[in-house]
């Protein structure tokens, strides 16, 4: 840049010539120069300010913007949810008809290990084995020591005490996951009704519970349905009655040296099963595995009442009588020939000689085979089939138990006259005790069809389909009553004061697996209804291979075995069911309950 001189020579000379002070010129020039400099500096300063300002604006707006964002958005903190509370009550409770808990859930912990996190796998395996001696030590040590395993289940459910012991080990590789566990507080009490559960799909934090038997399986979907919000499943079972029945049946089974027993108590009008016991039973809290070897019917898991197909013997005679009464062929007083009966080179006789003739009611009372055969043949095969079909012997019992719905009765394929003869007294047809209870309920309730159920139902919505006429029903009940009340009746041991028991015994020889019948092994059944004047309940008691010494003789017949057991059950259960005792002349006496 070319600088302009402060004292340009030309100007100085001309100023001197005009007599002016040349210093003014210099001052003027200097001031011009300063002005230019000032302007330049100012512009530069202004630009700097602008840039600085921009930086500030950007900085502040960034901070301000962030602040605004923070202020307007809600905080999303990392929160640890209490998973235990979330999964509890996933599966609905099961309660009895009075609301007592039969099955509920408990939160528990599952123990698992992560070998890579372990400090001393060998010691951990030793210590764990000390706490849980039921575990396989070899497997533990191998899994804990393995480099490949990242995750090992140790135990599916651990009690709080055991959990504390594991915590005390201080091993970081041992961890716990929340679990929900099915708990049956009453243990074996209603084992076959409830069935049991197992763990299904498993995760670390939760496991699915799946029903494997009984109502747990049948209502599995419903129990797991979240839409029902844990509404408990109300069964028709009465806990107290069930307990009394099981207790008496268990004692009776031991006393009668039987290897198995079952009892069903059913409401004759609604078909509700108040109590269902099958012995031997199991603990659903620790349900045994299904046996692979051996006879499944010997397994405790086998529900004799709903799954066991047996020839139920003379208990069927009342159905033969029902057929004849319905057809109008006989009345209870009709006299029938009871001499031995010959058919197809086989002679049918009675247990004892009951004389040449007997009335229909005496045939039932004394349990005469030949009398029953003659009635059945007179009524004909189709009538017999119709009666048994109406009473439900041709189909599986439609009760809400998976075991029952898979058990179809065994009926002859070709229903010959010989079949008619044997079926008339309960042989050649196999059904479950539950079938029998249903049929007796129909006989007892005035002839209305009954749909057995394990769920508590309201009395209002019952189908009232008549299968047997009320008149026949009345006559049958009074015949059954005579079996118990008369001196010659086969069930006279079933007299229970106040409860007018009526019923029919049945002693059927067991079928050999190789064919034919055992002569020393029987199924003794007693099907009863009470009170006879206004039947409310049906009780079927069945003992498998009972044998008892009475008057120096080994007895196997139902009259000596199942009948006393059933009588004891009724005397225990009827008062709990709030049945008013029937006392002659309607006079009751006062006895103090407390003997103090």
């Amino acid at each position: 840049m070319r600088r302009k001189p402060l004292r340009p020579l030309a100007h100085i000379i001309s100023a001197r010539q005009n007599g002016k002070n040349p210093d003014f010129i210099e001052a003027k020039e200097r001031s011009k120069r300063n002005q230019a400099l000032q302007l330049k500096t100012r512009v530069r300063a202004e630009n700097r300010l602008l840039v600085l300002g921009l930086i500030f604006i950007i900085g502040f707006s960034a901070i301000g913007g962030k602040m605004a964002m923070l202020a307007s958005s809600s905080v999303q903190e990392v929160r640890q949810y209490n998973t235990g509370s979330k999964i509890i009550n996933q599966r609905a409770n099961i309660v009895d008809r009075n609301g007592n808990i039969l099955a509920t859930n408990m939160s528990t912990q599952a123990l698992y290990a992560q070998p890579p996190l372990m400090i001393d796998p060998k010691k951990a395996a030793d210590d764990i084995y000390k706490i849980f001696p039921d575990l396989d030590y070899e497997r533990l040590a191998k899994n804990f020591g393995s480099d490949k395993r990242k995750f090992v289940w140790v135990k599916k459910s651990v009690s709080p005490e055991q959990q504390q012991l594991v915590h005390d080990l201080g091993e970081p590789g041992l961890l716990f996951g929340n679990r929900e566990m099915r708990l049956y507080p009453n243990g074996k009490l209603a084992a076959h009704i409830l069935g049991g559960t197992r763990f299904g799909e498993e995760g670390v934090r939760a496991a699915e519970i799946v029903g494997v038997g009984g109502v747990e399986k049948y209502f599995d979907k419903m129990l797991r349905d979240p839409a029902l919000e844990g509404e408990p499943l109300k069964l028709s079972i009465d806990l107290t009655v069930q307990a009394a029945t099981r207790q008496v049946l268990k004692d009776g089974m031991r006393l009668m040296n039987a290897k198995g027993a079952s009892a069903i108590l059913m409401d004759v009008n609604t078909g509700e099963i108040i109590s269902l016991v099958s012995l031997p039973d199991f603990d659903p809290n620790n349900r045994p595995r299904a046996a692979i070897l051996g006879d499944p019917s010997e397994n405790p898991l086998f529900n004799r009442a709903a799954q066991g197909l047996y020839e139920l013997g003379s208990t069927f005679k009342i159905f033969t009588a029902a057929t004849s009464l319905e057809k109008g062929l006989v009345n209870p007083q009709t006299i029938i020939d009871t001499t031995p009966f010959r058919w197809n080179r086989k002679t049918y006789k009675d247990y004892k000689n009951y004389g040449l003739t007997n009335s229909v009611e005496d045939i039932i009372m004394k349990s005469s085979n030949v009398g029953t055969i003659r009635m059945a043949l007179a009524a004909g095969t189709s009538a017999q089939k119709k009666t048994l079909k109406d009473l439900g012997f041709f189909e599986a019992v439609p009760v809400e138990l998976g075991e029952a719905s898979r058990t179809k009765p065994q009926i002859p394929k070709n229903w010959s006259d010989t079949s008619t003869i044997t079926i008339s007294f309960g042989h050649g047809i196999s059904a479950t005790p539950l079938h029998l209870a249903t049929a007796y309920s129909i006989v007892a309730n005035g002839g209305f069809r009954v749909k057995p159920t394990i769920k508590k139902i309201d009395f209002g919505n019952l189908s009232r389909e008549q299968v047997i006429s009320p008149k026949t029903s009345k006559q049958l009940i009074s015949m059954l009553r005579r079996v118990v009340s008369e001196k010659d009746g086969t069930a006279k041991m079933a007299k229970v004061e106040g409860y007018e028991v009526a019923g029919k015994t049945g002693t059927a020889e067991k079928i050999k697996p190789t064919g034919g019948y055992y002569d020393d092994k029987v199924i003794a059944t007693f099907a009863s209804i009470f009170p006879a004047s206004d039947p409310k309940y049906t009780l079927v008691v069945s003992l498998d291979e009972p044998e008892i010494e009475v008057y120096g003789k080994n007895r196997r017949t139902a009259g000596y075995t199942s009948v006393p057991v059933a009588a004891e059950i009724i005397s225990r259960v009827a008062p709990i069911l709030n049945l008013r005792p029937i006392v002659p002349n309607n006079k009751m006496t006062y006895t103090s309950i407390s003997s103090q």
Binding site: N82, I101, N105, P185, N186, G498, P575, M588, Y590
Partner: protein, 116 residues
């Protein structure tokens, strides 16, 4: 005048902003409280279900009958039987005594009415 409007407006803006800000935080606090309460309810429900299970376990018929047997001398409990039922008229009632009220009680829920 204009300055006055500006001041008033900015005051309103600041107040509204403050209000919105506080509301936001109270809402969030309430949500947290609800979550906490839900958790507590879940915990209580779990406790109730466990207590129910325990109650059912302690009241299982097997245990009760064993207890009744153990304490037979004291309680003399026997299974209920038909003989234990009777007509109401048959039960000897204790003779009626006329009640003597010596010190009347003020019943507050009934407006301080005096009984009898």
């Amino acid at each position: 005048m204009r300055i006055f409007i500006y001041i008033v407006c900015s005051f309103i803006v600041i107040t509204m902003a403050y209000w919105a800000y506080t509301e936001n935080y109270t809402t969030q606090a309430s949500i947290r409280r609800v979550e906490e309460l839900n958790r507590l309810v879940a915990d209580e429900k779990e406790a109730i279900s466990i207590l129910n299970a325990e109650w059912a376990y302690l009241n299982r018929p097997e245990r009760l009958s064993n207890l009744a047997d153990l304490n037979f001398i004291k309680l003399k409990l026997v299974p209920l039987a038909a003989q234990h039922f009777t007509e109401l008229e048959v039960i000897p009632m204790s003779p009626r005594r006329s009640l003597v009220v010596s010190s009347p009680v003020l019943v507050s829920s009934d407006g301080g009415k005096q009984f009898p």
